[in-house]
């Protein structure tokens, strides 16, 4: 449960921060995705420079029971490179849009990473021993002169310093005309989907030379284009079910058993709009930037510009809960449109099925407890650097008299956006990405 005080409340404390301190942020260092693996032992980040950095949680130190293991760098590699499509005069960014982990099947770890056009399957494996004592080769690999070999020996494995290697095992290319916004691994662990603005494709993890198109919303005449796909995800348990969200604020649930091309949805989730409230901004702020199923699969959460909505899969006509992330921005939409912030794509994440988290501006992030209906605003800042000190809740003053410790809307820094957050699958550990830094917060253990 959330909030300050009370026996069961989570008390968030600063744990670690990764990244450079300097204010001058190189574009390549902008973090574009954050994702824990299924056990929570590994935490991956992707950035605008096409690089992936993976952190590993330390084994818990039995004597230091007051904190869970720290995350240290485990592996880092260049996932995607910038490309130029000369035929279409199109620059292809190397920015990593999404990372999704596969569940672990053997000693190695696998993840999918994608930029706008190409998805790659990466294998991350450890090497902690190496063969020594070859008869025909020196230790540095040079071949020995066979005439100098007078005795034979059996090569043995000797321990070496741990080396973590990342290698691309599959490259899934040339299937998307438009820009990929989502990838989602199916619960069958054999297939996955990739979604761009107008189409969704289904892939088999072993097969790179073909994929099946399962959703196509491209109109015959592009002048008739009214909405695009903004996010897509497979249901966590039903391998035939997936959802995709749109720029118009709708979510469609599709069943792959119904037909090969799922252009006809099985369910359409949409909240009716009050026509008298409609404005120029209505459609823009209703655009869904992220959709995530709860771990049980009974609910799904959507994030639009100002709110987070929880939907019950059994009820299509309205969300069961709506949480305001930063309602005070509604009276700032004009300037947010002028500085393009209104198009910022915030993500959201679950803790099981009870608490949801999402980011905001000024390096603030928000959590909503579905059970207690309490919410909290916290800040990712190097000023709160003391481990085991509980983070102080923040409050934004919309108008009128600003109380002490509150911050007024006009003082908010709109360049400090928290778009990407992740929650450890099993513990109360969260990863929060500011523009170029990664913060890790933990529940204060008593």
């Amino acid at each position: 449960f959330l909030g300050a005080g009370g026996g069961n409340d989570i008390q968030w404390c600063f744990s670690q921060v990764k990244g450079a301190v300097d204010d001058d942020v190189a574009e390549a260092d902008i973090i574009s995705t954050v994702e824990f693996n299924h056990s929570g032992e590994l935490l991956a980040t992707g950035d605008k420079g096409g690089r992936v950095v993976i952190f590993q949680q330390e084994q818990e130190n039995k004597t230091q029971s007051h904190s869970r293991g720290e995350y240290n760098v485990y592996s880092t590699f260049q996932s995607h490179e910038p490309e130029f499509d000369y035929l279409k005069s199109l620059e292809i960014e190397e920015k990593i849009n999404k990372i999704r982990w596969l569940p672990q099947k053997n000693a190695a770890q696998f993840l999918l990473s994608t930029n706008d056009k190409t998805i790659k399957l990466w294998k991350i494996s450890e090497r902690d021993k190496r063969p020594e004592g070859y008869n025909l080769k020196e230790e540095d690999g040079r071949y020995r002169d066979p005439t100098t070999v007078t005795t034979l020996r059996v090569p043995v494995f000797r321990p070496m310093d741990l080396m973590v290697e990342a290698s691309p095992r599959r490259i899934f290319a040339n299937a998307h005309t438009y820009h990929i916004n989502s990838i989602s691994i199916n619960s069958d662990y054999e297939t996955y989907l990739s979604a761009d603005d107008l189409r969704i494709n289904l892939w088999h993890l072993e097969i790179t030379d073909r994929s099946f198109n399962i959703v196509d919303i491209k109109p015959a005449n592009m002048e008739e284009l009214t909405e695009v796909i903004t996010a897509a995800e497979f249901h966590p348990n039903s391998c035939n079910t997936f959802v995709y969200s749109s720029s118009k604020g709708t979510i469609r649930l599709c069943d792959m058993r119904a037909s090969a091309l799922c252009d006809r949805h099985s369910k359409l989730f949409e909240e009716p709009e009050d026509p008298s409230n409609r404005s120029f901004f209505s459609e823009i702020i209703s655009s869904i930037s992220d959709v995530k199923f709860s771990h049980s699969g009974r609910y799904m959460m959507t994030r639009d510009y100002l709110s987070v909505k929880i939907w019950d899969l059994n009820m299509e006509n309205r969300p069961v809960e709506t949480y305001q992330v930063h309602e005070y921005l509604r009276s700032k939409l004009c300037s947010l449109y002028e500085n393009d912030c209104i198009f910022d794509k915030f993500e959201c994440c679950w803790n099981g099925s009870d608490i949801v988290m999402t980011g905001s501006y000024n390096n603030f992030f928000r959590m909503f407890d579905r059970n207690t209906k309490r919410d909290i605003t916290l800040e990712a800042s190097r000023e709160n650097n003391k481990p085991r000190t509980v983070l102080k809740p923040r409050k934004v003053c919309a108008s009128g008299k600003r109380k002490k410790d509150e911050i007024s809307v006009d003082s908010l820094d709109f360049n400090k956006k928290i778009l990407h957050t992740a929650w450890h699958p099993k513990e109360n550990i969260i990863a929060v990405a500011t523009t170029n830094n990664l913060y890790i917060f933990q529940d204060k253990m008593n």
Binding site: K18, G19, A20, A28, D29, I31, T45, D47, G49, G50, R51, V53, V73, T76, Q78, E81, P82, E83, F84, Y86, S89, L90, E91, I92, E93, E94, D116, Y178, H179, D197, L198, M222, E223, L225, T226, E227, V228, S247, N277, S279, F280, F281, S282, E283, I284, S287, R330, S331, K332, L333, C334, Y337, E338, N436, N437, L438
Partner: protein, 99 residues
């Protein structure tokens, strides 16, 4: 009977009025095709290898006209060259998160 109701303007409508005051020619279709087409065209640069090679062949030894002050504006005789495209080099530097 004609009842005159005082309409309270919602914050959103007030913001819309502000925007329309600044930009009177703002599109009739709010949030419609314009935004979406712009989104779909992300990454579009204007370099035509055909034009470039033809221009090179024509000019032979002469210098190709270089880009004006605004490299994004390509008009008239100016043929975009690969040099006009912003250099997209891959990151050779390790991420600072790993530092």
């Amino acid at each position: 009977q004609d009842t005159q109701e005082k309409e309270t303007v919602t914050p959103e409508r007030a913001e819309e009025a502000k925007l329309k005051a600044k930009y009177p020619n703002l599109g009739q279709k709010p949030g419609g095709s314009d935004f979406l087409m712009k989104r779909l065209q992300k990454g579009q640069k204007y370099f035509d290898s055909g034009d470039y090679n033809m221009a090179k062949a024509k000019m032979k030894n002469k210098q190709l006209p270089s880009a004006g002050p605004d490299k994004n504006l390509v008009t008239g005789d100016h043929i975009p060259t690969p040099q006009d495209l912003p250099q997209r080099k891959s990151s050779l530097v390790t991420s600072k998160l790993a530092g």
